[in-house]
């Protein structure tokens, strides 16, 4: 070994010696703090209680799901408990994806809670002490390093009456709400070569803004590959890359994540999964996960952007600038070479400004909610804002008021040569933004769902389209002589373009109505009216040449912002749903007890928006006229429990009837008798026969 190498080695060994105690100290203070708590510290003999292992990773550290992904380790606990006491497997909450250098990790980046069921043997005397001990091993990592940690878990229980105080119950209900819910229906999967397709039965009416499949069964899919989600009626299809070279098992298990804390556990059997369907935005919540992109979508968005940019040229706010510049180019009779140079400089200006606008938008997107913009579009406040914006643009196009002319770049633009052409392009792109209307809207929409590279391409495409005519003018002299002259026709065109704008506003009002009900829609339209009146006033002041023409907008904008805050956020659809001929009431144990004490026969059903069996039963059996008539004749009360969000009281009620999920159909006979559990597949006949 040469001298330098030896010195380097010594250095390395010295470093290692220095680092070793640091690592030792780091292990003394865990990166993942844990705490074991019991729902009841005085459990009753012969019952089951829940234990919660609260996990709190340090900032930038993460713990792992049961299937950790490409690397990592699940939590392992070795329990030591008194004889007869059994502790079930760890139940994991809905995980997150974390893609690091092309390797997928299924993790928890913030605090999370793992639950276990502890069962006591029957016949333990009250007062018996139950020391529960456990040795837990887990792996905790940053994107750079991993540390395996061990914790000693201990909790002392005393056999008692099983009482649970309200605060603890509420806390545990929160933990349970983060667990995935069993889907109930069986999913199908198909592997063909390197393609893996999973078909999940999910009602078409269930709103889904994102979906990602976390497989529990290892070796079936390539974890890091992006997942594409499509919906086709009552089927949600996830397509991704299969792990090649491994025979797929007959059955796979996994978790379909539909949102934060919203996951469905499912089992899929090998079968056929139809192709086609409507694409949902990219799956993969991690921004990088959907990177591979759907080339067709990108191509379409790019084409649309270029076409949109091209159309922008005839927009009233761009055309004057462009035509003046073009006319000057034609008039000056410059050489071919300098005409081309100017055209290229102009193109550069346009594309740069468009790309800059796109970059700003992407930064906003990155800074905003990671949950994704598609999710935000379900927020009625966002829809209301868009409605007001579109209405204002429509009123502007209709000529109610004028936008102030941006003249800053004008002096630069009028200067000759390439610099002038560049600034004209920049100005055209900038001035175009207020009146881009639907074209920019489409590009924005695409930018919100596409990966960053694709989104930037769309914005650059918009700029390219905007620059195309000038580019053509620069390169084809014959065109320069055929320019239409700006005139009254442009004004007419602008008025006509107000029509699609107002149509867009109408569409947005409809969406608002769907999301926030009639009240919300009326509030939104009221806000639009207010803004409209204010803008009218602005227009009148502008026409008179009054100074500070914009002040009437201030109170209107303030009122609109106030409305943004109060607009109801809970969809009004939920209430409409129960409003069937059955006159069903929402389920609560108190209401059930009251009805039973009245001696009424009661039909209770539990449903969820994502439960296909439930929806089929409701359509085919429950919401039928003959059933309503039969129930009415026999005074059968109907209670409906909605478990879409995993309500914990309903979850407990389901558990007492031996179900871990929906559907559940119960019939309580008249006179307060014990309920009958009805089959999972209902017919109108089953229901009309009830209580007969």
């Amino acid at each position: 070994m040469n001298g330098l190498g030896f010195r380097l080695m010594t250095l390395w060994l010295a470093l290692a010696a220095l680092l070793a105690p640091m690592v030792a100290r780091a292990q003394a203070e865990p990166h993942l703090k844990s705490r074991l708590v019991a729902e009841s510290s005085a459990p009753k003999a012969g019952t089951t209680i829940t234990l919660a292992l609260l996990m709190r990773p340090d900032p930038t550290w993460h713990g792992y799901w049961k299937n950790p992904g490409d690397s990592g380790v699940e939590t392992n606990i070795e329990w030591t408990a008194p004889p007869g006491v059994t502790i079930g497997p760890i139940q994991y909450p809905v995980p997150q994806t974390l893609l690091i250098s092309g390797l997928m990790n299924y993790v928890y980046e913030g605090p999370y809670t793992q639950l276990m069921e502890l069962t006591l043997p029957a016949g333990l005397a009250p007062g018996t002490k139950l020391p529960i001990r456990g040795k837990a091993d887990w792996l905790v990592c940053t994107s750079e390093i991993c540390v395996p940690e061990t914790a000693e878990l201990a909790i002392d229980l005393v056999v008692g009456d099983g009482a649970v105080d309200a605060a603890t119950r509420a806390e545990f209900d929160r933990y349970r709400a983060a667990l995935p819910k069993p889907l109930g229906s069986e999913a199908k999967f198909a592997v063909a070569g390197s393609s893996f397709r999973l078909g999940v039965p999910l009602p078409a009416a269930a709103a889904v803004s994102q979906a990602y499949f976390f497989p529990l069964t290892d070796g079936v899919i390539d974890y890091a590959a992006p997942q594409t989600v499509t919906r086709d009626g009552d089927l949600l299809v996830i397509e991704t890359k299969a792990r090649e070279g491994e025979a797929a098992p007959a059955k796979i298990e996994g978790l379909l994540k539909l949102g934060e804390h919203n996951g469905l556990m499912l089992t899929a059997v090998s079968g056929t999964v139809p192709a086609g369907g409507t694409p949902l935005a990219k799956a993969g919540e991690a921004a990088g996960a959907g990177e591979e992109g759907d080339a067709a979508t990108l191509l379409l968005a790019l084409g649309g952007a270029i076409l949109g940019g091209l159309l922008l040229n005839i927009m009233p706010c761009v055309f004057p600038i462009l035509s003046l510049k073009a006319l000057s180019l034609a008039r000056s009779g410059e050489s071919e070479a300098s005409a081309r140079k100017e055209a290229l400089a102009y193109t550069a200006g346009v594309v740069l400004v468009c790309a800059a606008l796109g970059a700003i938008l992407l930064v906003l997107r990155a800074g905003g909610n990671v949950a994704g913009w598609a999710f935000q579009l379900q927020d009625p406040r966002v829809i209301l804002f868009l409605l007001l914006l579109v209405a204002a643009i429509g009123l502007n196009l209709a000529g109610l008021f004028e936008l102030p002319v941006i003249s800053g770049g004008d002096s630069l633009a009028s200067s000759g040569g390439m610099g002038g052409a560049f600034w004209t392009g920049a100005l055209a792109a900038f001035v175009a933004t207020p009146c881009t209307g639907p074209f920019m809207g489409a590009a924005l929409g695409a930018a919100l769902v596409l990966p960053p590279a694709g989104a930037m391409a769309v914005f650059a495409g918009l700029g390219l389209g905007l620059a195309l005519p000038f580019l053509a003018l620069g390169f084809v002299p014959a065109l320069r002589r055929k320019l239409p002259r700006p005139g009254a026709w442009m004004d007419k065109l602008r008025r006509i373009l107000a029509v699609p704008m107002f149509a867009t506003a109408l569409g947005l009002a409809w969406i608002l109505g769907r999301q926030a009900g009639v009240d919300g829609m009326t509030l939104g339209l009221g806000a639009a009216l207010l803004i409209g009146l204010a803008l009218w006033w602005v227009g009148r002041r502008q026409a008179r040449g009054a100074g500070a023409a914009w002040w009437p907008l201030v109170p209107a904008a303030a009122a609109a912002i106030a409305l943004l805050v109060v607009v109801p956020r809970e969809p009004a659809i939920a209430s409409a749903k129960t409003e069937s001929a059955l006159s069903a009431e929402p389920f609560s144990e108190a209401r059930l007890a009251a009805l039973r004490s009245e001696g009424r026969p009661i039909f209770v059903y539990f449903t969820a928006d994502w439960c296909l069996t439930c929806k089929v039963n409701e359509k085919a059996a429950i919401e039928r006229a003959e059933v309503a008539d039969a129930f009415k004749a026999r005074k059968v009360a109907v209670l409906v429990g909605d478990w879409t969000r995993g309500d914990a009281t309903i979850g407990r009620f389901l558990a007492t009837h031996g179900r871990s999920g929906v559907p559940l159909y119960l019939f309580y006979p008249a006179g307060g008798g014990e309920p009958t559990v009805l089959p999972q597949v209902l017919t109108p006949g089953t229901l009309t026969a009830l209580g007969a």
Partner: protein
Amino acid sequence: MSRLFALVTLSVAIAAPASAQPRIGAPAPAFSGVDSNGRPVKLADYRGRTVVLEWNNPGCPFVQKHYRSGNMQKTQARARQDGAVWLSVNSGASGKQGHMTGAAANGFVKAQKAQPTAYLLDPSGAIGRAYAAKTTPEIYVIDAKGILVYQGAIDDRPTADPADIAGARNHVLAALAEVKAGKQVSVAQTRSYGCSVKYAS
């Protein structure tokens, strides 16, 4: 326009994750690299001999489990006694945990009394990506005909606790014994466990 689109396609391709997993029973991906002494190493150089690839990161606790206990060294010694070639591969990118210069790698080998035939430096991750190596440690066994016959963990106890080595099945030694006896490898693929390979982003 077409150039713009080509650019977009290119950036998408670069961002795409690791390439396809090499298949058991198919020819192992060819590679060439440089070892800790600056010597070029090619897989083709060892045609006719069994080759073991071991993904290494001295900073990873799971790697430490098998080195501090001497389990990895023992496995390396047994493999080489039987005529196999053992190549430790470090795909840690510069600046990431476990990344080493040649001198540091030689220091590690010496300090740990490790016995690889060579210690390959793969900071670009080219070899790691070609094999879709995901964790450290992770082992690949390639037979004399260049066919991949084993991929996965060193043993069947996915923990960082050295006490678990005693009762574990050493998948690598088992596979090597079967290869030597001319038999089909009975456990040809397992789930590797450990830290993620610290690839360049």
